[in-house]
Symmetry: C2
Subunit: 222 residues, 2 copies
DNA sequence: ATATAGTGACTGTCCGGTCAGTCATATTCC
DNA sequence: GGAATATGACTGACCGGACAGTCACTATAT
């Protein structure tokens, strides 16, 4: 946890610190980011950082948590749990892509904690995020299978896992060079990946998910 | 590229070096691995490493490339391109899981190059791997859609992308703490993830893929 | 004898964290 | 009101450890 001092300084300075830290950590990773450089970007002295946090790792952890909360809020905070599966999937992909385009740094931070030597952060962070989204998606799927809106011959947990995997890989492809290469190879994208192109990709993706979830007897709904 | 010296030393020493380097890099990442520690594990002096490679980064890149070739060989080197989509998917998941369980370090290396500050490696490495697998999977899908074995109302490139995403996330879940947490939350796994449990998970996963690809008119084939 | 592989102490650099001191503001006291 | 005092945010030079890469030297093989 940060020291109390962090919450006593001017709000805009705190916000600047958190944003710059997220950007730098996302760009260079924990080990390659140095505290002097961060302090420089924020416009304060290195020593000040140690008035707010006990260590670089504590700062890193706090920035990650903060970023995840912002992401979760952007996607799930604007969703109506009564919508059917199809609409929720659309919404999650649309809002996710929108947020990720305006704040790629937070997703990158989350991706980074999957890499070597970051396990201690994953343990502290992943559980809560994943539990929340998994729970949500499975509940909606079960409800709509029971209602006959979603085909019920598929394994709920696996379908949820598949949708989430696709979501993660899709979003990551929008922000990470490595994943972008994969997406381009698979989806045969040659031009720019600008907002309209992304919009179109999302429609293709959600359409496919709709078709896969559609009860077999029913005709595809578009 | 490594110096010629690397190929003049005893084969078993070279093999020991490459294996230990893969293990260490996978465990700690590029920046946290130190050359002295690596030399110690291999049982040679640090200076010797610089007789084989010009720099740590060059060694790292070579180890990654080597590992990817071993992985590709294990999965695609044992596959008959004439098999139908279903059998190929089964084979890829089975062989992939088998390889990943015996040599988790290579997949971890591949995952790591997706993280911050590793973009220069991703550019040099990802393209060829992804191109190969994407091409293969899409060709098989197109052939079987034309033959009426696979439903043809889905977007081929996206289906390939989805299967690959699921494959990557699945395999990564077997080796990385962060992804394992996700898998456990989604699939509600509470017990051990030992080989039989993994085997069962693969069957569930490939079964779902089969159902999703099955032509709509046909009854699910199990 | 000579070429080539192997060695490890050494060097320079980088960076996380410290701390003694500064200064602007708040509080107290007359 | 204003002088005296207290508070705590802020600073940045400095320290110590870590580590990539070097090189003068040794060992070995042919």
């Amino acid at each position: 946890m940060p020291k109390e001092t962090l919450f006593k300084i001017a709000a805009d300075k705190r916000e600047r610190l958190l944003r710059q830290a997220a950007l730098l950590f996302a760009e260079r990773g924990l080990n390659q980011t140095d505290m002097a450089a961060l302090a420089g970007r924020v416009g304060i002295a290195k020593g000040s950082l140690y008035n707010y946090f006990d260590s670089k790792e504590e700062l890193y952890l706090y920035v990650c948590r903060d970023g995840l909360e912002r992401s979760r809020q952007a996607v799930y905070g604007t969703l109506d749990p009564d919508w059917d599966t199809y609409r929720q999937v659309d919404h999650i992909f649309c809002q996710g892509a929108r947020f990720v385009q305006s704040h790629p740094e937070y997703l990158i931070l989350y991706t980074n904690i999957a890499s070597a030597g970051m396990a201690r952060f994953a343990e502290q962070i992943s559980q809560e995020v994943e539990h929340y989204t998994a729970d949500h998606l499975k509940r909606v799927l079960r409800r709509d299978m029971a209602a006959g809106i979603v085909r019920d011959d598929l394994d709920v947990t696996l379908v949820a896992f598949t949708i989430n995997s696709l979501y993660i890989v899709f979003m990551t492809s929008l922000v990470s060079g490595h994943f972008r290469i994969r997406m381009r190879e698979y989806l045969e994208i040659t031009g720019e990946l600008d907002p309209p192109a992304i919009e179109a990709l999302i429609v293709r993706t959600t359409t496919m998910i709709h078709r896969m979830l559609q009860p077999i007897s029913a005709p595809a709904n578009e």
